[in-house]
């Protein structure tokens, strides 16, 4: 683990330089956003007619009466509301197409194939290694105000934390923060065992699939030929040697221990959370049962409201579960009654974050006013502060990036959204999205 940390730190230096080059447009220039209604989500609370000073992609200062440097460009946001960029704790960027999605069987001596209706665990995907940014369109996320997202697949693997930019490059997309182990499970032995065995003890945990590759290697490879797609496929021609050189430079030695095993150890000890997507209500119950045995493990549980609501009491008891929910008003199963599960979770004091992208169709359909679903939850009983925290500070804390992201504070990264009015008011439009001080989307 230590070795890994060192590597990622040295990587950080490299990437910081690259990033600096990227945000050249605002390099050295201080921009003052004035007269804005600032929802800081931090200790400063709400600031009316406040000023936000941004320089080099960072917030230099924020407050009501702060001195604006003489050379600063002043942008008036009169009547607008500014809030921190939304952090999505569970962004499924790719549906895995595993080989077992079709099943072969014989019928009367003949061979047929049919799509699998049963759940398949899928293979382990290390997102940072297998991520090909040019495949993914992040515009819907950006239009919804998502400035940071934890990228996962719908199977299992190791996540990566990314900043969706309109013109993606691998350097820009993936942040230095370590990813989390994630898995989608259902109540089947094969699926539950992917978690249970690893939570139980060290000896039985399986080694990760495939060779582990450092981030630098991946970047080098991408630069060499934008060919990072094929996994183990080596880049062709002269670029190959270049790739090797860069990789050797930045990652001198591979860690001898299996990093995935180390991560599971961290999960067992409660140092790192495990992200679990539960497929149905029964699975939530099975997970609760599992967590009773391994008391230290912390879990980010992704599930829909109807699957959660019958287990909310158990979840509240366990203390080690943070929920990731959709911003939807659900119906009670087998009933026409409506329920607000985030509100129920709040009243049971269960910490939760909201993922806008979890209900993808909803996210895409409500891009004019992306926080409308949140406003619905607030209107039907969820406290406004809790709802907004569930989009910003809570996921930042969950992902371990709360030192730099999640709220508008001095020295934090300048990821922020500008709304026409109160973000939760009906018809309030998302006007502009800033990522590291740069405007990446304007309506």
């Amino acid at each position: 683990m230590n070795k890994q940390l060192i590597i990622s730190k040295s990587l950080g230096l490299v990437t910081a330089m690259v990033v600096g080059a990227w945000s050249l447009c605002s390099f050295g220039q201080t921009v003052a956003y004035t007269d804005a209604n600032l929802m800081t989500m931090g200790p400063l609370g709400q600031i009316e007619n406040g000023t936000l000073l941004v320089r080099d992609g960072k917030i230099v200062d924020i407050g009501k009466d702060i001195e604006i440097p003489g050379d600063a460009r002043v942008v008036s946001l009169q009547g607008k509301t500014v809030m921190p960029g939304i952090i999505d704790p569970y962004y499924v960027f790719k549906k895995t197409q595993s080989a077992s999605s079709q099943q072969t069987f014989t019928f009367r001596g003949r061979v047929f194939r049919r799509p699998v209706t049963t759940f398949s665990v899928g293979s382990f995907t290390n997102v940072a290694e297998n991520f090909y940014p040019y495949d993914v369109d992040f515009m819907p996320a950006i239009r919804s105000g998502i400035t940071t997202a934890q990228l996962v697949t719908d199977g299992r693997g190791l996540s990566a934390i990314a900043q969706p930019v309109p013109d993606p490059t691998p350097e820009m997309l993936l942040t230095d923060s370590d990813g989390f182990l994630f898995a989608k499970v259902t109540n089947q032995t094969s699926a539950l065992d992917t978690i249970r065995k690893n939570l139980a003890d060290e000896s039985s945990s399986k080694s990760s699939r495939g060779k582990s590759m450092s981030r630098a290697e991946m970047i080098a490879r991408m630069r060499a030929g934008r060919r990072g797609r094929g996994g183990a496929q080596p880049p062709t021609g002269g670029s190959a040697s270049e790739t090797k050189k860069v990789a050797e430079k930045t990652a001198p030695k591979k860690p001898e221990t299996d990093p995935i095993k180390d991560m599971w150890k961290a999960v067992r000890e409660g140092k790192k959370a495990l992200v679990v997507n539960a497929n149905n209500a029964a699975t939530v119950a099975h997970l609760n049962k599992m967590l009773k045995k391994s008391k230290d493990a912390k879990i980010h549980l992704v599930a829909t409201g109807p699957n959660l609501f019958q287990s909310l009491d158990d979840i509240g008891d366990s203390k080690n579960i943070t929920l990731v929910m959709q911003p939807t008003i659900d119906t009670v199963p087998y009933s026409s009654q409506l329920m607000n599960v985030p509100q129920m979770a709040h009243s049971k004091k269960i910490p939760f974050a909201i993922s806008l992208s979890l209900n993808n169709s909803q996210m895409i359909s409500s891009q004019d006013d992306p926080l409308f679903p949140i406003a619905m939850l607030v209107k039907s009983g969820l406290p406004r502060d809790t709802a907004l925290q569930a989009l910003t500070t809570r996921p930042a804390k969950m992902l371990g990036i709360d030192k730099t992201l999640g709220s508008l504070e001095k020295d934090k990264v300048a990821n922020f959204l500008v709304f026409h009015g109160d973000p939760l008011a009906t018809g309030s439009r998302l006007k502009q999205v800033f990522l590291m001080g740069r405007s990446v989307y304007e309506r």
Binding site: F105, T106, F107, F112, N187, T189, S190, A282, A285
Partner: protein, 531 residues
């Protein structure tokens, strides 16, 4: 011509072989000392107990007490207690009677004017608590769904536990011979391939090919040979408790029966195979017992020990050789022959019932027949072989023409069984919950079905036992469920009338001391006052 003589000779051989097998088994049996299945199982449970007790000691001190006060308690195994009090703690019944003080701080459920019975036990249910039968390597414990809506429906009629069949999924072709490739029936599975037609399903064979133009099967030109008879492939059953929302207590026991297909024990060859298999299993059991004896005697002295060690090794060799010869012995078969579980098989006609009863007596195992519509005609055979019956009072079987007196179902069967001392459990016309409703054909008509047993001449007590303690005994779980006794699981029903009345509703179903169904809250059955 030569072919025919060949066939005849093989047939003769088979008969001779089967005769020999019978002789061997008869000799091997010796004096019959049959135990009831439950005793064997109890012995096994006793072995397990100490571990469990230690577990319980580790747990925290006793939990809160719930008292059900003022109801008329049908204990089933004992006498009725009018206006009695029942105390429950940690999922068990702790006290029961008329003069019991309710301790302070206990939750009191007022059941004045209500009737209290043990939770009903459905000996035959499907599609409850398990969404899909677990595949090969999957465990049942992981497939359980504690939030299955069907469980609420079952609780709504008073079923708090029962026996779920796991192998039945889609009917045909699911039970295959060992080593046979997986075969799927597209007409019954979702996503059928379009070019597999119904015609293929109905007339298809391994040799059948399809016409590329019309999709109809091209009939084979060679004569169709019949398949060799298949090995008895047992169906799988598990006992579940319908503790809605509580995953931990759902699974009572796996593999509660040894249940071969009905066809696999009929016919000379099948029966021969069965006898041979049983014999092999018995030998294995004997070898195991010998080995144990040897090791036990080996302990006292060293000199003797070395001598008997040789014997032990030879014993183990025989066990190994028996397991090496042919396929491995089914562990469930071993349990059957140790009287830990019973053989459950469907048998309806006089012939089938007689055959099964004779086999059970000959090979010495406990038998439960499912169906038993003509059992009333062979009461003596059934009772002598200590056979138990799973009976559905409303099921009908027409008499054969010309044999109206000596075939077909009889409305008075339950009464006849009771008189002859044949234990019978009542099962509903269908094993699953469907939209058939309260008085319909499905599982939710279970108490009503028991009422039909009353109409068939059985006592109300026997009929209530037929959906409580009798099926519990069949499952080998009579020390946990099936009656209201101190020390048993707190699975009780609070009814607003007599248990076998069609007007009666379940007000509350309590499973493991927790209210898992409340008629007023759960909105499963319509709530209205009948005044």
């Amino acid at each position: 011509m030569s072919v025919r003589t060949n066939m005849i000779s093989t047939g003769l051989l088979v008969i001779v072989m089967s005769c020999a097998a019978t002789l061997v088994t008869a000799q091997d049996d010796g004096p019959r000392n049959r135990r009831r299945g439950s005793e064997g199982r109890r012995a096994q449970q006793r072995e397990v107990k100490p571990e469990k007790a230690a577990d319980e000691q580790e747990k925290k001190e006793a939990g809160p007490i719930t008292a059900v006060v003022g109801g008329d308690i049908h204990t089933v195994t004992g006498s009725m207690i009018r206006g009695g009090t029942l105390l429950m703690q940690d999922g068990k019944i702790t006290e029961l009677g008329n003069d019991i003080e309710v301790p302070e701080g206990a939750t009191i459920i007022d059941a004045t004017g209500k009737v209290i019975t043990p939770g009903f036990v459905a000996i035959n249910m499907s599609g409850l608590g398990v969404r899909s039968a677990p595949q090969k390597q999957d465990k049942l414990n992981d497939a359980l769904d504690p939030f299955d809506r069907n469980m609420k429906f079952a609780l709504g009629v008073g079923i708090t536990s029962g026996c779920v069949e796991l192998s039945s999924r889609g009917g045909r072709g699911r039970r295959r011979r060992n080593g046979e490739p997986e075969e799927r029936f597209l007409g019954l599975d979702p996503n059928p391939e379009e070019y597999v037609t119904e015609a293929l399903l109905d007339y298809g064979d391994e040799d059948t090919s399809l016409c590329p133009c019309c999709g109809l099967p091209v009939l084979p030109t060679e004569p169709i040979t019949s398949r060799p008879p298949s090995q008895p492939q047992p169906r799988k059953f598990a006992a579940l408790k319908l503790s809605f929302g509580n995953l931990d207590s759902m699974l009572l026991e796996e593999n509660v029966f040894y249940s071969p297909n009905p066809g696999s024990l009929t016919g000379a060859l099948n029966r021969h195979n069965w006898r041979r298999e049983v014999l092999k299993a018995k030998k294995a059991i004997q070898a195991e017992a010998d080995k144990k004896k040897d090791t036990n005697t080996a302990k006292p002295g060293d000199k003797e020990g070395t001598a008997s060690k040789a014997g032990a090794s030879s014993g183990s060799r025989t066990a190994a050789s028996s397991s090496r010869g042919g396929s491995r012995i089914n562990p469930e078969l071993l349990r059957l022959l140790k009287h830990e579980i019973a053989l459950r098989i469907s048998a309806d006609t006089v012939d089938e019932i007689k055959d099964m009863a004779d086999l059970a007596s000959e090979l010495d195992y406990d038998l439960i027949i499912e169906g038993g519509t003509e059992a009333w005609l062979v009461v003596d055979d059934v009772s002598q072989s200590e056979t138990q019956v799973i009976y559905t009072p409303r099921r009908r079987r027409n008499a054969r023409r010309g044999a109206e007196e000596t075939s077909g179902s009889h409305v008075g069967s339950p009464g006849i069984f009771q008189k002859a001392g044949i234990p019978f459990a009542v099962s509903a016309l269908s094993s699953s919950i469907s939209l058939g409703g309260l008085a319909g054909r499905d599982l939710s008509s279970l108490p009503l079905e028991a009422a039909f047993a009353v109409r068939g001449g059985a006592d109300e007590k026997t009929s209530l036992a037929a959906i409580t303690i009798t099926p519990a005994r069949m499952l080998g779980l009579e020390d946990r469920i099936g009656s209201i006794e101190v020390g048993k699981d707190a699975d009780i029903l609070i009814l607003n009338g007599p248990p076998l009345d069609y007007r009666t509703y379940v007000e509350q179903a309590i499973v493991d001391g927790k209210v898992c169904y409340d008629r007023a809250k759960d909105r499963v059955y319509p709530v209205f006052d009948r005044e």
